[in-house]
Every structure is written in C-alpha cells, then in structure tokens.
C-alpha cells in the first residue's frame, strides 16, 4: 500500500526546496524522494520544477542575524517578554500563526539555540515580541542576554492544524490557553478576529500567574475569561464551553496532556469543530535534520515535527505514548 503523504509547512516558501531535497528526503515530492514518477502531496507548487530549474540545488538555509533587544517586560521572576528590533521584512515573515524563531546569546555557541514562539510581530516598526519562560540551561542563557541577540528564522510549524485557522471565517471559535502558551495564541487570536470570527479565550494563568495578552489584542472584539482548569469546577466550565455545537474551531495552547483532554472532551460531545494545538515537540535545528523533534506515527514511520503538519490526534497520542 502506498504510504500516506505528509504536509510540509515550508513547501512553496522561499526556503523550498530545502536541503532535504538534495538528499532525496523531501517531505512532499516523490521525485525528490528518489522515486521515478510523480505522486506528491500537492501544496500548490511543483517542488521538483523549482529544484531542477535552480540547477538541482536547494535554496539557501535560513541565516542567523542580530536583533536588538529594546525592552524586557518582566512577567514573573522566571518569565519575561522580550521586545526585539528586527528588519521590517523579518517581522512580516513572522506574522503568521505558528511562527517561531531560534534565539541565543551572541557569546554562546550554536547549541544554545532555543526555539521561541512569536507572540506579536509589528511589520510597520520592524519589532517582534517573544515571551520567555526560564526553564533550563538555554533559557537561562537568554535571560543573560544584553543588547544583542542572535536570531535564526523564520520557522512556521509552531501549531498543528494551521490550515483550519486559514479557512475559518464568520464563525465561533474557542481558545483554551494555559501559562506561557498565551504567547503564541496572540497571532492566532488576531488572525481569527481579522477573519470576522467571534473569539472566546479562556486563560488559566498557570505558573505565569497573570494574563498578559491584553496589550496585543483588540479587547473589544475578544472575550477573555480567566479560569483555573485544574480545579474540578474549572474543567466543568471548559466542558460546557466545548459542548457548544456552534463552535467551528477550538484552539488548545498548553501541554500535550491538555490537548488530549480537550480532544477527548470534543469527541465525547461529537463536536464537528476543528482542533488546532500548539506543537510542543522539542526542536533544535528546525530544518528537519537533527531529529530532536522526531515523532513515530506508524510502525517505522518517523516524522520531523519541526516542519511537518501532522494530524492533530496522531501527534498528541504518539507524543503522549512516547514521552508519557
């Protein structure tokens, strides 16, 4: 039986075809997987054509560049928002939901790169915002950054189920966010609002202890409710919201466990809404090479989730199985 094809977030972008094509590992194109005939998961462009026309070469990899740290807005002792000046073009590239970059201190070597979701991008001023929670070695190094910070990007696969965001107009949407996951939700909220959707956001501040999205969204158009999910009463509230039959899209920003609980609840309610979740894979290179984000989806099939838009259910279940 021919294998099912995966959807690469970079297909057709200015970074496609990428290095994977040169080694017959393209995620989309059968010709660039070393096969003799076309059998691709079409993304609107012929990657093989792009590759051959470029003289059988891939496009240049994303380069590192320096951003200027303009401001640190403390959230807690262990969390802050960084306001970083980049070029207007870079900011524009990071405006779509799911955008992320790698950050590191100028004085540290490559392996200090830490993936960070874009919270907000202002392409008029050339400014991006990221929310950093200090969790370990690499984020501690970010805490120590002075004026300049090394950025590599743009990357886009920070959310799974992105196409559902693009196709939802004039509908009811529910977003369930916990802790630092408020950050990547802002691009989603703004996108959904711009598509005339009615957006309700339920936030559990979690360890961050506060809601920090207000300054980046249109408060008049978005209903924000604070709710502790972990309490029985809080979860009951979520269940009630999820039983709304008019919902077209549900977004879960939080842990894989949270995603799974929401998915289970939606299935219990026979919900027809699409589910979009934050991609919680550990990422290191972002280019489908290093393997730190590898997720086994079927026997013998490993997918690099830094680039692949995996089926949401498959992604959640497999990751919970693998990582417990």
């Amino acid at each position: 039986m021919p294998e099912k094809k995966h959807e690469c977030i970079d297909a057709g972008s200015e970074y496609c075809p990428c290095y994977l094509a040169e080694v017959n590992e393209c995620i989309t194109c059968s010709q660039l997987q070393g096969k003799s005939f076309c059998d691709c998961n079409w993304r609107g462009v012929c990657i093989y054509q792009e590759y051959v026309w470029a003289g059988n070469k891939s496009k240049a990899l994303r380069k590192e560049y320096i951003g200027e740290v303009l401001e640190r807005i403390p959230l807690t002792d262990d969390a802050m928002i960084l306001k970083i000046r980049v070029t207007k073009t870079k900011a524009r590239e990071l405006k779509q939901p799911g955008s992320y970059i790698f950050l590191r201190d100028l004085k540290k070597p490559d392996f200090f790169n830490v993936p960070m979701s874009i919270m907000y991008a202002d392409e008029i001023e050339g400014i991006i915002y990221v929310a950093v929670q200090i969790l370990g070695i690499k984020t501690k190094a970010i805490q120590a950054v002075e004026d300049s910070i090394v950025i590599r990007g743009p990357y886009w696969n920070g959310l799974l189920g992105q196409r559902y965001i693009k196709q939802t107009f004039d509908s009811e949407c529910l977003m369930i966010l916990r802790g630092i996951s408020q950050a990547p939700a802002i691009l989603v909220i703004n996108k959904l609002v711009s598509q005339r959707n009615q957006v309700k956001v339920i936030v559990d501040p979690g360890k961050i202890g506060k809601i920090f999205i207000y300054d980046f969204i249109n408060k008049e158009k978005v209903e924000v409710i604070e709710q502790d999910f972990l309490s029985q009463e809080g979860w009951k509230k979520i269940s009630t919201e999820l039983s709304n039959k008019n919902l077209s899209l549900v977004y879960s920003g939080g842990s894989d466990k949270q995603h799974l609980e929401i998915l289970t609840e939606m299935e219990k309610n026979n919900s027809n809404a699409y589910l979009v979740v934050t991609n919680n894979s550990e990422m290191c290179c972002g280019e489908g090479v290093c393997g730190s984000c590898s997720t086994k989806i079927d026997d013998n099939v490993t997918v690099k989730v830094c680039k692949v838009q995996l089926d949401v259910r498959k992604a959640i279940e497999r990751r919970i199985l693998q990582h417990g």
């Binding site: 039986m1 021919p2 099912k4 194109c29 059968s30 010709q31 003799s36 005939f37 076309c38 059998d39 691709c40 998961n41 079409w42 609107g44 462009v45 012929c46 093989y48 054509q49 051959v52």
Partner: protein, 426 residues
C-alpha cells in the same frame, strides 16, 4: 440504488458516466479542473480512417450521444489530410458546454474543481475516494478515467518541463493515479528510444495570429499543408510523439494545420522562432500548450492492468477507461472504452456477467489487442488507435475497416448487441 463514482471528467469519464447512468446507476463525476473533457478541449479529430467504423459501431451499440455532439459541433466534415481520410473536425470552443449540458440533463452529479487524491479501502474494495479538501465520496463501484498525462514533475523529467497545457496542473493540482493508491502498480508506456512516456502529438496556434491566406484555407477546407524549410525538417521528432498515426514523413516535411477552432498543428512542439520564419506564420502564437514552442505534455505514465471488460485487476470494484486503460490515442477510443467501463460497472454491482465486446467488432478487437500488446516490451512502445499506425493496419487486414453504415449495423446485429448500452439493467 447503485452509486457509481467516475474519477476524471475527460471523454472517457463522460462516456462512462452516461453508460452507467443509462444502465440505471446514480452517477457522480469528479473532475479536478473547471472544465469537462480534459484534452478533448484541445483535440477535435473524429472519424478519420478506422475511427469512422468505430464511431458508427458505438452509435449502433447505443453509445451515440457523444458522437452526436461532436458531429453537431463539427466545423468540417469529410476532410482528408496526409495519411488520413474522411475526418470530422469538431469545434473545440463549442463542445464542452454541450457535453456538460447533456450530463446535467441526464441527472449526473458533477463535482467540478474537486481533485481525488486517495482512496479508503475495505479489504479489496474501494469504500470511498478522498478529495484534496479532505471530503470523501463513497460509492458501490468506481471508474477511473484520470488519463495518464502529467503532472508537472513527470513532464519535467520525461519532457521539456511544464508547458502550461489545458490540464493546468499548477492551478488545479496534479493527476493522481487512483489505481496506484489502491496498491495496484501502474504500467508505463515507452518511447521508441526506451525512455518512458510520450509527448502529446499536436499543439494549437491562435488562428487570429496566422496570415489571411492560411486562415481562409483553414476556414474553407479545414486543412492547410505548408512545407517546412529543408534545414528545419526533423524526422527524429516523429519518434517521440504519442500519435503514431501522425508519425509519417509528410508530417516532418510539412506543417499540417487543421481547423478545430484553433489551428491544430500536427507536431508535438515547434520552436516559435523557426515557426515564424514560415510565410504566413510571422505572427504565430500558441494557444495550447501556451509554451508550445518548448514542449508538450507527457503521457502514458499511468495505466492500470485490466481485463477486456475494463475491470482493473487486483481491486474488486474498480473499472477503467480511456488512456488509463491502455496505450490508446484519441477521443473515439476514450469514448468506447469509457462506455464499456460504465456499462459494466452496473453489471458488476448486479452480479451479472460482465460484457466483453466481440473481436468481430473493431471496438472489441482493439480493447483485446491493446491488452495483449501491453504485456510485451515492443508493445509498450506502440500506441493503439483506429486512425492509423499498427492498429489501423490490423483493422484493414481483418476487414474490420469500413465506412459502410449498413455493413456496420449488420455486424452489430450479428453479435446481437444493438443498443446494448441503452439498456437499463436496474
């Protein structure tokens, strides 16, 4: 109710849909572009040589609707051009709306701009077809008429790249081999030199871009033959084309133009600069493919193994027609194989024996002959059409070729198949 799903709305798919509907099926046609007929939108040649016999056979068999349309949409009838007699040239700008209207009138459900990308199987049966938008179409029986042309990567690897043909893959997405998705391997046609696939055999010039004299001749007679400057004659080009019935030296030494609404140029492609050296073609520009100076679409990379009742081997409820079913060339061949596939899809669902057309009809003979030849390496390098090359020779040898309608009617009567495709089985 028997639910029949036809994948691909070209000539073969439309014929299959009509035959299945007449036999009592509820029929859905899935078409990836915004028009039915696929390459039929740039074709136009009917009834030349043995196709006349085959068209009349089909009419007596009860599959006359589409031939009726191409006859009604004819710009020219009884046209002769090198190697070919009594051709009908239909107007490519008229025929698609006529076919679409007919299918709608018959109650056939058309899913236009919907691309089939996968199948869901239940054991050895197709349960449903998955579309590119993640929706599904379920059915009792499926007919694949997706053709064998493109997509872009194949045209690049085995041809001169995407030249923007009527199938418009960049807009509507690639053709997917449905039989391959069920796990049945494709059969691949070869060129004389052993490479895979073959170029489509003709391109079309915009008639308004041609000289007055040429246009006048085309409008009046349907044909215009212009000698190629001796330095530009390229006989090796004949080897690479699909349409071996036009792979004659006259077609290398001359430009043969036919009037199908556009000026159909009977060569796979011709560099624009060289074309414009020829008197009367100084302003010539291409209509299909848009880059006809560079190349043409690549075909025959995706045939399904089948039996002579058009059922795909290895899948219980899948039939095929047109180029998907063998190395056939032409609308007539597509309509005949498609009609048989459509009719048999209903027989299959009712559990009654499938119809095979007898070999004393040209239609039955070509279906069987092409199926035998495809199993041999040399047979994979040939194309099979009533209108010329190897198969037309065979038609003549077997006395199958005739333009005597009474004789053709008698032949169909003799095998007791008059109007078989008009019979309602449910």
């Amino acid at each position: 109710m028997v639910k029949v799903v036809v994948i691909g709305g070209g000539w073969a798919g439309c014929a299959a849909a009509l035959a299945a509907q007449k036999a009592g099926g509820y029929v859905t046609v899935i078409e990836k572009t915004d028009m039915l007929l696929g390459l039929g939108n740039v074709g136009g040649i009917m009834r030349n040589n043995g196709r006349y016999t085959a068209a009349e056979e089909a009419i007596f068999l009860g599959a006359g609707e589409l031939f009726n349309i191409t006859d009604r949409a004819a710009r020219h009838k009884n046209v002769n051009f090198p190697g070919h007699s009594h051709a009908t040239l239909y107007d490519v700008t008229k025929v698609e709306p006529m076919v679409r209207q007919l299918l709608k009138e018959k109650g056939i459900r058309l899913l236009i701009q919907k691309r089939a990308v996968d199948v869901e199987m239940a054991g050895n049966r197709i349960k449903e077809v998955v579309l590119a938008d993640d929706t599904t179409v379920s059915g009792d029986v499926f007919i694949e008429t997706t053709g064998s042309t493109g997509p872009m990567g194949n045209c690049l690897k085995y041809g001169n790249g995407c030249v923007m043909c009527i199938l418009r893959c960049p807009t509507f997405g690639p053709r997917i081999s449905i039989s391959l998705k069920t796990g049945v391997e494709d059969i691949l046609g070869q060129r004389a030199a052993g490479s895979y696939g073959a170029f489509s055999g003709s391109c079309k010039l915009n008639k308004d871009s041609l000289g007055e004299e040429i246009v006048k001749q085309l409008n009046e007679t349907g044909v215009c033959v212009i000698p190629v400057p001796p330095e530009d004659v390229k006989k090796e080009k004949l080897d690479m084309k699909v349409c071996q019935q036009y792979a004659l030296k006259e077609f290398a030494e001359n430009l043969v133009l036919l009037d199908t609404g556009h000026a159909k140029l009977m060569t796979p492609f011709y560099p624009l600069e060289k074309l414009r050296k020829i008197p009367g073609l100084e302003r010539a520009r291409y209509e299909d493919p848009y880059s006809g100076g560079r190349g043409n679409s690549i075909r025959y990379l995706s045939m399904a193994p089948r039996n002579n009742a058009m059922k795909v081997k290895g899948v219980d409820n899948l039939f095929c027609g047109g180029e998907k079913s063998g190395l056939f060339v032409g609308h007539t061949e597509a309509i005949i194989t498609g009609s048989l596939a459509g009719h048999n899809s209903i027989r299959y669902c009712l559990g009654i024996p499938l119809l095979e057309l007898p070999v004393n009809l040209a239609s039955g003979d070509i279906i069987k002959y092409a199926n035998e030849r495809i199993k041999t390496p040399e047979g994979l390098k040939k194309r099979y059409t009533f209108s010329g090359a190897e198969y037309f020779e065979r038609m003549k040898q077997k006395n199958l070729y005739t333009i005597d309608r009474d004789e053709i009617r008698k032949r169909v009567e003799r095998v007791n198949l008059i109007n078989i495709f008009n019979e309602r089985l449910i």
